[in-house]
Each structure stands twice: as structure tokens, then as C-alpha cells.
């Protein structure tokens, strides 16, 4: 009910209209242009959890960086809450695959960083950061440096930093890809819990099919370059998904195998091209 009302009254959290982006790869004299995104139209609703999956080199990361306005598209518009944007803004926050923590800053200083950029008073920034670090159980490590923490803990810092900005949209680039399998499952649960409690919009890149299906309201499958949206699949599984093992549900296995069959073709083609 609530979701439907929100969808009717609010513009999409993020909307992409006709996004094109190409890169020039210079290899000595023969520079060639590579199409990374070839006309992407996409609307992501408020409070939606969308995962993006696709073969490597399909432009997933480029797509996310365009959504973050870290790179500007050659053509097309990015709209946040219905308004076009052209530079990074406070409504979106990123979580990075390799955590993106400043190694010379302590945990708390990493989390306050975006707030200090916005010129918040130090005490206020610290208070906000502390609140988020406590939530992910890192209150004992606020004065540690990132290299003293495990990968899972470092990404909790990365997540805290994104949440502390108060952004409504989290842009996550394979955030759990560099974390060991068991910790990853805990992180997935934690993320789902936070997403549900705080009503965030999450756009989440992954190369892990299980993860893509388990977390998402919708899975966006991209096709091998030039980057296009191949299919968007609704995941019909009840929430909260933290109380039970989603993976044994029939809907889960069916969605997963449907995705895998689509993805598999691309991978086979890709391999054939690479060997010729």
C-alpha cells in the first residue's frame, strides 16, 4: 500500500533518460572508441532495492558512476527526485568495492569526512558519525586506522560513512565483493535491515547471482557491451528476508536460473570472442 502511494506521488528516486557514454581507449596510435552505455532508460523508485548484474565489461560500474555524477554522460539526463543533476550531490552516497577509506584517517574521521566537506561543526559531525558507527557495532574501533580492521569491518565503516551523509540513495559498487563469503552473508542481512528501517533507495552492483536475487526488489541484467539493459526482473519473495533462508524458496531458484541462462549466453559468446 505505502509503496504504491509513494510511487504515485513521488518522482523516481533516480531516473536515467537516454544515457550514452563512450570512452576513447588509446593504445599507442590506434585509438578506438568503446561504447560503454548505449541509450539507457531507467527509473528507480523511492525506497526500492535494485541490483545490477551483467558480464564483466558490460558497463555496470560506468552506469553507477553516471548515477553518482562522477562522470557525465555524452548524451541523456540523470534526474534525482525529478530534477536533473550534473555533479555529485548530498542525496546520493556511494559505497565502494575496495571500501574507499582514507588510510591515514581514523575510522571516525573517515565517517565524518563527507560532513566536514559540507562544513558541519566538528562536534556535530562526530556525533552523527558516532551514532552510525554504534549501529554497526564499531564503537570500540572509532580511533583505529582502516588497515587494523578486517575487510568486513572496513566495509561497515564505508557503509556508515554513506549513511551518515543522510543521503536517500545508496549507490553501491560490488560492496561485498572483496569480503569473505560468511562475513558477506552477515553484511547482506545488515544491509537489508538498515534499508528496511531507514527506507533508503539502494542501487547495488554485484557479480554474485545469489546476492543479486536475494537482496533485490528488481534485478537489472545488463548485456555485454555496448551496455544496454537486457532485462529487468521482479523478484517475488516476501520480506523481511532476514528471518529465513531465501535460497531454498522456489521463486528464488527459478529467478536465479532464469538469470543464469541469460547471463550464460553472454559469457559463452564472450569466451568465444576472446579465444579467436
Amino acid at each position: 500500500m505505502t509503496n504504491a502511494t509513494i510511487r504515485n506521488t513521488h518522482p523516481p528516486a533516480i531516473e536515467l533518460k537516454g544515457i550514452r557514454k563512450s570512452f576513447v581507449l588509446s593504445e599507442g596510435r590506434n585509438a578506438r572508441t568503446v561504447m560503454a552505455l548505449d541509450g539507457i532508460d531507467l527509473a528507480i523508485n523511492q525506497h526500492e532495492f535494485v541490483t545490477i548484474i551483467g558480464p564483466s565489461g558490460c558497463g555496470k560500474t560506468t552506469l553507477l558512476r553516471v548515477m553518482a555524477s562522477l562522470i557525465l554522460p555524452d548524451a541523456g539526463d540523470v534526474l534525482v527526485d525529478g530534477a536533473p543533476v550534473s555533479e555529485p550531490g548530498t542525496k546520493r552516497a556511494m559505497v565502494f568495492q575496495t571500501f574507499g577509506l582514507f588510510p591515514w584517517k581514523t575510522v571516525i574521521d573517515n565517517v565524518t569526512f563527507p560532513l566536514m566537506v559540507r562544513k558541519l561543526p566538528a562536534a556535530k559531525a562526530r556525533e552523527i558519525a558516532m551514532e552510525h558507527l554504534v549501529r554497526v557495532g564499531l564503537e570500540k574501533f572509532v580511533d583505529a586506522h582502516p588497515h587494523q580492521l578486517s575487510g568486513g569491518m572496513q566495509q561497515r565503516v564505508g557503509l556508515s560513512r554513506a549513511l551518515a551523509t543522510g543521503a536517500d540513495v545508496l549507490l553501491m559498487d560490488e560492496p561485498f565483493g572483496a569480503i569473505d563469503a560468511q562475513t558477506r552473508e552477515f553484511m547482506q542481512e545488515e544491509l537489508m535491515r538498515i534499508w528496511q528501517e531507514e527506507q533508503k533507495t539502494v542501487i547495488f552492483i554485484t557479480h554474485d547471482l545469489d546476492e543479486a536475487v536475494m537482496l533485490a526488489d528488481r534485478v537489472l541484467l545488463m548485456s555485454r557491451g555496448p551496455g544496454r539493459v537486457r532485462e529487468i526482473i521482479d523478484v517475488d519473495l516476501p520480506r523481511p528476508r532476514t528471518d529465513y533462508d531465501v535460497r531454498v524458496r522456489k521463486n528464488f531458484t527459478e529467478t536465479r536460473s532464469h538469470l543464469w541462462n541469460l547471463l550464460r549466453n553472454d559469457l559463452v559468446e564472450q569466451r568465444a570472442e576472446e579465444t579467436t
Binding site: 553518482a68 556511494m94 574507499g100 582514507f102 588510510p103
Partner: protein, 251 residues
């Protein structure tokens, strides 16, 4: 190799110094040519005399001022040119040969030029220190900034840091800090050499001046008594930078 505990290291160092000084004292007494090798006791007496007369303090003050001024100017020039070289290929190819040449040219060979161009006053002396120290700073800035921390730049941009200058100060320089400090430490060692050269070959002054003037009248015990604080000054400044370096290092 197993790391030795601090107190053992200190004990060995103390024993080493004691043996060395005793051998020196005994052989100098037996040799009995204080012009060539003054005994340790005579050197200590000379040092005491320099201390209470205030000559040493005054000389040290002059030398430290020269050293700090020289290092500050060298850092400024090294920072600006190093940033240019790191960020622009044109600047790199245009400027790099000169600095490479300067790096291998003994500072003392440039003293006559400094004398003609800048005179033997404070300016000239500072310039000798700068010539000695600027290249390690410049090279460390250049190499520290060349490995661009692209992922962290992206993080900073995503959280609203705008513009090259902001990124330079908030990310690039801070990421390069360990390399910069290593360069500064190297530069400090060379600056001490430059300082001694400036003080002995331009106009006598500071610790270098003390050494030169006592050497000229063959008061070898006083020469030793002045060399000792010069070495200590060098060690002190390098240790100070190392301390700072360790604090800025994150691993």
C-alpha cells in the same frame, strides 16, 4: 633476525662509546701530539670553554637559523616545481634535466657563483643551503604525486570535494606524505652539509665558521669540540623529521 630489546641496544651502544673514548684517550696521551690527535679530556675542556663563553650557543643559533631558513625555502621551491613536474609532462621534460644535474653537482662547486650573484651575506648562505637541499624535496614531491590515488580521488569527489586544488591538498598530498617526509629527511642531511659549506666558504659564521677559524690556527681540540655539536645538530634534525614521519605514516 630477532629484534633486540631496547635496553640491550642501549647497553651495547654505551659500552661501544666507552671503549672507543678510552682507547682514544689512552692512545692520544701515549702519542702525545695534541695537534694531530688531541685527547678526549682536552676536547671536553675545549667544549666546556666554548659553552661557558657563549660562543657555541651563538654559533648554534646562527647555524640553526640558516638551516631552517634554507630548508623552508627549499621546501617551497621543491613543492612548487615538484607539483609542476608531477602534473605536467611538458614541465617534467623541460625541468627534470636541470634538477638531475643539480643533484649530482657538489654544492661547493657552485659557491663561487653564489658569491658573485648574491654576495656572502645571509641571502647567499641560504641559497647555498637551498641548492644542497632542494632536489630531494622536489623529486619526492614529484614521485609522490605521480602515483595518483585515483580511487580515493573518486571517493573525495563523490562526497562533494570540488576542484583540483582541494583534491591536491585533501587527498593527493596527504597520500604522498610518507614519500614527502622521506624526501625531507634526505634533504635535511644535505642541508647540514650545505650549511657547513656556506659557513666556511662564504663568510665565516655559525658552527662551520668556528671549525674553520680554529682549524686555521691549529687548535685541533677546539676543532673537535665544534664538530661534535655540528654532528649532533644533524642527528637531531633528522631524528625530529623521522619522528614526524612515523606519526604521519598509517601502517
Amino acid at each position: 633476525m630477532k629484534r633486540r630489546p631496547n635496553h640491550e641496544v642501549r647497553r651495547d651502544q654505551l659500552i661501544g662509546v666507552a671503549v672507543f673514548l678510552t682507547v682514544w684517550e689512552v692512545s692520544a696521551q701515549a702519542f702525545d701530539k695534541p695537534l694531530l690527535l688531541p685527547p678526549v679530556s682536552a676536547i671536553l675542556a675545549a667544549l666546556w670553554e666554548l659553552l661557558i663563553s657563549g660562543a657555541l650557543i651563538k654559533a648554534l643559533g646562527e647555524s640553526i637559523l640558516l638551516l631552517v631558513a634554507g630548508l623552508a625555502v627549499a621546501s617551497l621551491i621543491g613543492f612548487i616545481c615538484g607539483t609542476l613536474i608531477a602534473r605536467s609532462k611538458t614541465a617534467y621534460w623541460m625541468l627534470n634535466p636541470y634538477f638531475s644535474a643539480l643533484f649530482v653537482t657538489p654544492t661547493i662547486a657552485l659557491v663561487p657563483l653564489v658569491l658573485v650573484w648574491f654576495g656572502f651575506g645571509f641571502t647567499g648562505r641560504v641559497i647555498v643551503v637551498v641548492l644542497a637541499a632542494v632536489v630531494p624535496i622536489l623529486f619526492s614531491v614529484a614521485s609522490g604525486l605521480r602515483d595518483s590515488p585515483d580511487d580515493l580521488i573518486e571517493v573525495a569527489r563523490s562526497f562533494g570535494v570540488k576542484g583540483e586544488i582541494q583534491l591536491l591538498f585533501q587527498v593527493r598530498l596527504r597520500a604522498a606524505m610518507p614519500v614527502l617526509m622521506a624526501g625531507l629527511r634526505l634533504a635535511a642531511g644535505r642541508a647540514v652539509v650545505g650549511m657547513a659549506v656556506a659557513e666556511t666558504y662564504l663568510r665565516l659564521g655559525g658552527i662551520g665558521g668556528l671549525i674553520k677559524s680554529y682549524g686555521a690556527v691549529f687548535q685541533t681540540d677546539f676543532v673537535f669540540a665544534a664538530i661534535l655539536p655540528l654532528s649532533l645538530l644533524g642527528i637531531a634534525i633528522v631524528t625530529l623529521i623521522s619522528r614526524f614521519e612515523r606519526r604521519l605514516h598509517w601502517t
